[in-house]
Amino acid sequence: MAVNRLRSVLATPRKGETYELRAGLVSQYAWERKESIQKTIMSMTLGKDVSALFPDVLKNIATPDLDQKKLVYLYLMNYAKSHPDLCILAVNTFVQDSEDPNPLVRALAIRTMGCIRVDKMVDYMEEPLRKTLKDESPYVRKTAALCVAKLFDLNPSLCIENGFLETLQEMVGDSNPMVVANSVTALAEITEAAPETKALVVKSHSLKKLMLALNECTEWGRITILTTLADYRAVDAKEAEHICERVSPQFQHVNPSVVLAAVKAVFLHMQQIDNNQLHATYLKKMAPPLVTLVSSQPEVQYVALRNIDLLLQKQPGILEKEMRVFFCKYNDPPYLKLTKLEIMVRIANSSNVDQLLAELKEYAMEVDMDFVRKAVRAIGQVAIKIEECAEKAVNVLLELINTKVGYVVQEVIVVIKDIFRRYPGYEGIIPTLCQCIDDLDEPNARGSLIWIVGEYAEKISNADEILAGFVDGFSEEFVQTQLQILTAVVKLFLKKPDESQALVQKVLQAATAENDNPDIRDRAYVYWRLLSSDPQVAKNIVLSSRPQITSTIPVLPGPLLDSLIPNLSSLASVYQKPPQAFLGKGRSSALQAAAIEEARENARENPIAAAAVSAAVAGTSAPQGANHAENLLDIDFDGAAPASMQNAPMAGASGLEGLAGTPIAGTPARVASPAFGSTGAGGGMEDLMGVFGDSGAPAVVQSNGSNGMNDLMNGFGDMDVSGGHSAAPSGQSGGKQTKEDLLGLF
């Protein structure tokens, strides 16, 4: 390929398109030349290589026609790299143009020069850039300001030697708001690329100028300034208050991205203000604009909704009254519907829950499978969150079971299991659940039902029959379901020892002798020994009182949430992951770090979990834990090539690639947007949390549960924990196994 292309460049064809274009480019008629340039650009766009025409196009650079000049410049930018030597021929024109009386031409020249990334060009840029930075026309100045960032990208040392950074810093005080905005932009860009330059340092006097420019510059300039203000740390509460006061009018701006930038700035600075009343005022002010964002274009709405989701986790109360706006429209794209569901669950409270349940029921009747499942799950989350509505929610769920739609029923079973874990007194519906036993084909749903049967074995008259059916097909079940069958049968035996002795022996036999899975075998052995030693102790362990769960709504770990708030409206806030986590390298380690940090935090409050965590962190279980974490991430990330793989082609892309436009093969790993992957990022995070000891909900479980187990601690110090856990299956499939492994360490 490359050879062919090279040949075509070297040999000048006598015929064909290139030949015609060349003829046109050197025509004696101006209009014909211009037309040919247009055609050349057209071919360039279509991906044809027209770099052979470089010298001929270049001849047309000196023209009074501004349009034509722009086209030639466009061509130059594209092919400068392949013809660095010829580029120098254009330098004269650039330098001349940068002194043109017409400011548009001056700006165009300096703008284009910055985009021609040829080393030799850099030497000639110095002088024009210096002049244009001090140009009388603000239009030229604002263009030159950005050009400094371009030059820095190309040759940092030259940029610093020439004092361009200082000039730029002075320009933050320019009289023209656009120039201020662009100077800030350029400085921010430079600071990001090379933090050691300390290019952008906001001091209180420049702060004043920024806030003045904020009210006058374009919408895009406002975003830059607002972002800079958000990053700035106010010296005291008074200054923070002042910033909030000046920024909050921007909530009314028509551009949603300005609104989000303003929300971010106020939200961050608010935290420095001690006055609670002021807090409330700003939160109240920010609510209506946030709601307005929900009626913007779908893609913008999506970004806004993901941000609202974050803000709600930080400040749960802000949108309490706005439930209705988050109702899904029938033709909303799926990514919006799923995000709206999450938000609705978050803002549910006792006053709006009736409305929400009716709405969720409606969604559960729709046809999009992902959406329906999420809606059913949401019903459960709401029921567990708000006690008053539990009964209504259960009734809705029962109605849904009657629809007999496979995936709805399965999801309902899983959800009802969680409700049992939260509230006592719904045993009356168990017969209804048992009727649909044959329709369940997913491991999670089957497992949930079996858990229910085991847990309430004494209240289900035919529990032994039901479980016997499962035991018969034990070897064909999924691992997860097998574990549940095992536990349920043991529970049944402890509750009704007379009727089910044969059954328990059968299942223990099947699990130990005929099964290859170590998890199942181990658990079976534990039960076996437990049962053969002292049935009373076994009862205390296996049937120990079940701690209540408190919430099934996924929440981001505190430190992660805190690190995401300064990233509002950026990609990180959409993915709800720290930037390092989804941008190429090191994403798993960043997530792990966050998870470990969270676990540590929990450890401080919870000494029992601390032991688990310290073990995990110390690395005794590290190989296992880490592997699981990586696998889980891969599932979440659609499991293509690992991060390191796709970095290679990106970094290794040479100049040749730009020249030839050859696609370099490489299967980049895909980061699925959260709403896209059906389990979503939230689930992934949770699974991961499960890996790292008992953080989050499970940790709470343990501390509560320990009361009931205290007496056992002495005798069965190392086993009681795992026993307690098998009694309360966690809803998170992935994390479960690992957790057990981890606990096995004790």
Partner: protein
Amino acid sequence: MLSGVLLFNQKGELLIMRAFRQDMRPRLADVFRIQVISNAQIRSPILTLGSTTFSHIRSENIYIVGVSKGNANSALVFEFLYKLVSLGKSYFGRFDEEAVKSNFVLVYELLDEILDFGYPQNTETETLKMYITTEGVKSERAMEDASKITMQATGALSWRKDNIKYRKNEAFVDVIEDVNLLVSASGTVLRADVNGQIEMKAYLSGTPECKFGLNDRLTLGENGTDPGNMTGKKAHRAAAGSVTLEDVSLHQCVKLSNFTNDRTISFIPPDGSFQLMTYRSTENVNLPFKVHAIVNEVGKSKVEYSIAIRANYGSKLFATNVVVRIPTPLNTANTSHRISQGKAKYEPSENAIVWKIARFTGQAEYVLSAEAELSAMTTQKAWSRPPLSMQFSLLMFTSSGLLVRYLKVFEKSNYSSVKWVRYMTRAGSYEIRF
């Protein structure tokens, strides 16, 4: 920020590719084509591959893609892409494949102007139109204007040029409301709100300062009504009071700090038409139409419909272009219908009976009864019953009850100006479940 902008047609052919940074490689276009356009599984507008993020929107039959590296500001990227579309629309009438293809030079020029090094610059249509035009600006002619243009493109009043003169000074204000409704099958209103926008066409000389007043509850005070301004506006039966605006967003020409202080909307308008403000209102929404729908599935072979629609506004008003879409099951074989007004037709491609009424007078009630015969299907999947939806436009009526109290124009030369106000209510998403 943005590394580049790509425009594709529906088939995935590249129409425009403009790189702003050197990390924008030609092969990225192929990556996007393979990963998004030819991948039906993609359901999210954002896709991150390695460190590259593609954010795309669709307009007519083209994909508009923003390519960025690192942790870019997503909201800004999408908003910019939509701005590009609206710019394209105002330049070419519509922004589709044909328009892009036949104006690709201009598109490049625009991109060159509105993005520099991936950072959005001035995107004001009126300003851009001064120096980026379809016929091309000759350098000689531009010479005198150029410095003015550039002053304007960067000035505090970037949206207005100097020395505008009109013989007749006029300002047109259009209040356009989109009313959104969602009614449950049992007839309770789940959601009713209004997204309003105020469009203004200003043909005013010089640098006029405008002040704009609405019957916004916050401006008027809790119970303060101003009877002097209410007379002669019979379009507003519900206007005997004030409206509560949940939220307003204002055009960038409006002085936001003034608005925050005392809720006065004061501004120096751009020349020509622009959107002065948008607002939201959720309280006391007047619904122009009441729909009563009875839908029965008779066995597995028939669905019976009986739809009654009543116009809930004054009898002197009339709605135009009323279209009611009544969804039918996917396996509908045939339909029959009787109607008291308008025309109805079964549209198999939309799976709906479309009932059109050209003119719907106030207080009238029209009825449609229909039957859909279903063909037998092997798989018995329940019909999801999408909601019934309506479209209409209704002049001289605002669902929120909003009205313009005054528009004052102050200018140095103190000329008198004529102002026109027009109200219209349209259907946003007007859906009724059954």
